[in-house]
Symmetry: C2
Subunit: 353 residues, 2 copies
Amino acid sequence: MSLGRMADHGGEWLGGTGPESDIVLSSRVRLARNLAGFPFVNRATNRQQLDILQQCREQVLQGNLADDMIWADLNDCDQLERQLLVERHLISRQHAKASDDLPRGVAVGANESVSIMVNEEDHLRIQVLRSGMQLTETFNQINQLDDALEQRLDFAYSKQYGYLTACPTNVGTGIRVSVMMHLPALKLTGEIDKVRRAAKDMHLAVRGMFGEGSDAIGDLYQISNQTTLGRGEQEILADFQHTVVPQIIAYEKQARQALIRQKPTLLDDKIWRAWATLTHARLLRTDEVLVLLSHLRLGVNLSRVDKISMRTINELFLMNQPAHLQKIVGTELDPVQRREARATLIRQRLAAL
Amino acid sequence: MSLGRMADHGGEWLGGTGPESDIVLSSRVRLARNLAGFPFVNRATNRQQLDILQQCREQVLQGNLADDMIWADLNDCDQLERQLLVERHLISRQHAKASDDLPRGVAVGANESVSIMVNEEDHLRIQVLRSGMQLTETFNQINQLDDALEQRLDFAYSKQYGYLTACPTNVGTGIRVSVMMHLPALKLTGEIDKVRRAAKDMHLAVRGMFGEGSDAIGDLYQISNQTTLGRGEQEILADFQHTVVPQIIAYEKQARQALIRQKPTLLDDKIWRAWATLTHARLLRTDEVLVLLSHLRLGVNLSRVDKISMRTINELFLMNQPAHLQKIVGTELDPVQRREARATLIRQRLAAL
């Protein structure tokens, strides 16, 4: 598996096979770890950064941590390849954008469900990403990874604080738990703001997967815990697993049923306009596609449109993005050319069904 | 032919068979006439208004002026029927809205190409409306009507001023010449404002067929002469026939060719989005439909879409309007119900092709 071949198909989490995957696209757990005996990345000398990279890379690749693990040296990647990794949620935006003086990379394996960034904000950022609502499985998998790595690497740990991390919000367990949720009905009924406020009261962060600030274009929301210090992993996870996520799922389901009962024509209007435009437009902008895909996804989930698989729609969310689009087309495109290529690609994918 | 059966199909001018009918939807000539020996409508007593109505009605119907002439007494029509006549350009908005104290009506014949309003601003407003660019034919036809009526009715005429009319802008020949033009390419290329300014310099009025003020929703423009005093009928007509309209037609054609050469994808995007939305939406507003029909009409004219006849599109422009929609559905609808009925009607009409 090389970076080049990544663009054309999605990772495991895109399959839409996990539990509750009509609403929960993916479950993600991330750990932050640092090597003992080295300063944090932003305090380390270039020599030390290189040492960290080499140690981590070696142990990650030799550790047999996940199937088909590949390594991408970000300093060897061009901008498009880095952007591709960002769009696939395998590396962070910061990791892609960092100065090329900083030696850094990422290991990806197990059908993209595992990624390990080296020399991001922390020496190691370990991520497991799975389809649907699978927080327990995801948590167990990342724990095994963590244990396996800890046998090979000496992590900075304080008896008082727990795992030490570059940013105080990660100190302790270093864990961040998040789910990516598709909440189109709560948006259409106008109840999404209530959910946002409730989440905020519970000290959770709600971010749009796409779009800046409070606008979640495509109705995709990433909901995550904000602080880790002073709280056990199990407690953080239990909150998510048993309270937060099931409640939001229930709200979204209620909103969907309410739409079907009270505004079926409005619902079908959104769904069929989306289908019509995606299968006929000759020029499409990223943001417009996100909105249309969101409505189409809702239509498929509610069985008001058939013929389209959840995987196809989830993949189009990914392929819609600039780096994916250019990788698939095989050439760099300016924004105007991209609009045309995007429309062509989407028409072809949806027509081929 | 009754008013009730009108809604479901269009008049002669909708056929799209006249010359240049890809750009000129219709040619219209209108004459204003008043009976000698009576005050103008707004100065007449109710008794006099009734006398005028009876005289005009009798002579218009007995004069054998046009095939299948029918009479509609506006005081007997309900609001929906009056609105229907307005939407078909058979009576003016003022004529529909006038107080019910004013006895008034309209005679319609020859497949709706002839209409004669009685007791609008003037005692008689005679209109001939034909498909495409047919100003000469339209002018000849209205002249015959005028002559025939003048043999039966005594028109107020001054040797100094010509025909006397309630508003000074109509005094003289009392003639107003207009064409309804579809100018989507000039709108897309942004050149429509130049045409507007040029028309204004030539003392022509440019109005949107739909939409208030300067916005011509659906890219349909009615271009007409503004004053008649001091200018002969032939001169007014020649201006239109040989200078104004051919020039605008040439501009629009150039703009269409420029779009095909320079922005074919933008053009097809507009056309196919319009087709897709009109054939899939479940809720449609009047204004949105006008915009979409305009782009679809352009697509048909440029042979980028087939299967749709010009008559179907022209008729949809008409049926899209509230009174037509309600007449076709056969029941009164609130604005929300109309959106759904409009979408259903349009889907059916376009699917039946």
